[in-house]
Symmetry: C2
């Protein structure tokens, strides 16, 4: 480990530690209010009360009705339920077979639509993004066909932080009577989640991205959006998500969301200032580096780069040895550097797209962390480039 | 509340309180080893280590390989993944379209097979059970067709506790090369889970049934069983169950399973003795009552009855007022008494099947609880019958 004492965690987009108040709020539900919310007796009803209070808390943040909130096991499950649910409901009622998305969605969306296409015969149109990862709402509009039943565009990209014009796409979708889903998993802590402002019909969240526990997510599903359940079983969540309800973690999710939303403007401003210092420092001190994603229309905590002549995972591991935790959209699974599919879709050539570096700030980030990173990172990149160890192929 | 001071919880089949040692074991994973197991850096690897140790613990209990263990969000999801996964994989490879089950499965199985039948065009055969809820392995054998790809029979019934001849069915399935799934959700704490002894290919568990947390389950899937993922996204759980891994609760599940299995013989004997006293007392003191399920071939903690002239939910609520928490397989959702589908499938006439009462014992159960219940229950049933309030239709 490097000379600086503590590890520096710049991977808040991957996951966050659980807020101490959230851990505290979950405790009674492990062994006191431990009932099954489906049980009619008093111990069950105590658990149910915790569940329904959590639902109201989440609904207040999203500006929706409590019964439009479905609790799930993770953001991936929320996305899956939205996409499969709408697709199958449309097929069942013979309303259409065509789905629209972008090539830079999280795998929870991209792979789901791919399975719907390949295994189940749905038509999927990918609407291209520009060099910043932005999708043009008019291009979405032009992709709409008479048999289009769903549009899915993420709120913010997890690798490059670009914020999509969700509201504009939502208006187009609504005017055409098409369900609009957004993966908002990166946005729980920093963006508005007002579903009316956003004009979304389906919105997915995951607690562990905003200082809540892993293993619990939310799908907002607007009244009138027809969903076939993707899990079947008991009648939990009004039949839309069976399975014994994870009350403790749902209570944790609700509190974490409330706390994150309460402080999001102050916290966003704080991390954005640190992030801006980080981005400026990297661009100034490291040669042959590009900021990826939109320069301004991006998540407040996101600093992402393409670094020429360095392979992302190699850089990640070198920084890890220095006590700095970061992420990459590039992989090295087969011994050969794989370019980031997001950067590739944004038009970056392969020799840049294999060098994806993502640093995402959050509650753990302190000003001195940025100072340390700006000291260590240029040196590490320089060493990797000189040793020619950066690029493994 | 009644004169006895503490509430009596006789609903361990619905859910259980989390063991204090399990709560303790989960704590570090909320805010210290909080990493995402997909992250390659040290904080991610620490979380991954917790996950893989948990996987080894579970595999040791099941006598299988660690990579045959898939962690899910609940028992329902495990069942769904097993059934949908095998069905779709079979369709994809054109191996067949026929599924076999019983009419008394948990909804997680029953509703899933019904959706596969109704929405996706699979053929489903229901093999009848006898008056004890037992299925005949030979009848399963006779239901097999050349296009049968899956048999699903629960290990123990959740309402009446009857243990199915899983091993015998498993032998038949294996001889015919058909995947065999068992919903073992009721059995984690009290029965062997040795998948080789049981001859099962797929087995579902849920942590909250054996003093672990809600929100986490296991699917065992034997090597060579072909599964199409029912959630799609990242590559977690070797691609079979995407979604950020719920490390804390998985660590909790593993410890809870280990602890339950270590003490299962002692604890089963303890609760079986209390249960036997309860059953004998009820049959002796309450007129017009039947034990439901098999008299001996049943879960050690399960006491279930059909009570003539009393509606299950009414009885449940009357007992709740007396501080006794029980369950029923009958419902009263529309103001009209609905008979238990399990009891109906076992041939009980409607006037008995509306009076389902389930009492399931566990760690919380003390001898004096049985004394209290045997004091209160006959009195409550008598009152309901006299007031004619028991049967709402």
């Amino acid at each position: 480990m490097a000379q600086h004492q503590r590890r520096i965690y710049l991977d808040h987009a991957a996951t966050t530690p659980v807020d101490a108040r959230v851990i505290e709020a979950m405790q009674p539900y492990w062994s006191e209010q431990f009932g099954n919310t489906s049980s009619i007796h008093s111990i069950g009803r105590e658990a149910l009360q915790g569940l329904e209070e959590a639902r109201q808390t989440v609904a207040a943040v999203l500006h929706c009705q409590p019964n439009e909130i479905i609790f799930t096991g993770c953001g991936t499950e929320s996305d899956n339920l939205a996409l499969r649910g709408v697709a199958w409901a449309a097929r069942q009622s013979k309303r259409g077979n065509h789905l629209i998305t972008t090539p830079i969605e999280h795998h929870a969306v991209g792979e789901t639509l791919e399975q719907l296409r390949e295994l189940h015969g749905f038509d999927v149109t990918l609407v291209e993004v520009d060099e910043y990862g932005l999708v043009d709402p008019d291009a979405i509009g032009r992709a709409i066909r008479s048999d289009t039943v769903l549009i899915s565009v993420m709120y913010a990209n997890n690798e490059v932080g670009t914020l999509q014009p969700v509201r504009e796409i939502g208006q187009i979708a609504r005017a055409r009577g098409i369900a609009f889903h957004t993966d908002a998993v990166q946005c729980g802590g920093s963006m508005t989640l007002d579903v009316n402002q956003l004009h979304v019909d389906l919105l997915a969240l995951s607690a562990h991205k905003f200082y809540g526990p892993k293993g619990v997510g939310v799908l907002y599903a607007r009244h009138g959006v027809d969903l076939v359940s993707t899990l079947t079983g008991g009648g939990h969540e009004r039949g839309r998500r069976p399975g014994t309800v994870n009350v403790a973690e749902i209570v944790g999710l609700a509190l974490a969301l409330k706390l994150s939303q309460e402080r999001r403007e102050i916290e966003s401003a704080r991390v954005a200032a640190l992030r801006d210092r980080l981005v400026a420092g990297v661009l100034e001190q490291v040669p042959d580096v590009r900021l990826t994603g939109h320069p301004t229309r991006r998540l407040s905590n996101s600093a992402s780069f393409a670094i020429h002549g360095v392979e992302g995972e190699t850089l990640l591991m070198a920084l890890d040895l220095e006590g700095i935790c970061v992420s990459t959209g590039s992989a090295c699974t087969t011994g050969e550097a794989e370019p980031s599919f997001v950067l590739t879709a944004m038009g970056l050539p392969r020799d840049w797209a294999v060098g994806s570096l993502r640093m995402t700030l959050g509650h753990l980030t302190q000003p001195e962390d940025i100072t340390t990173v700006l000291d260590v990172l240029p040196r590490v990149i320089d060493r990797l480039r000189k040793n020619d160890l950066g690029l493994s192929d």
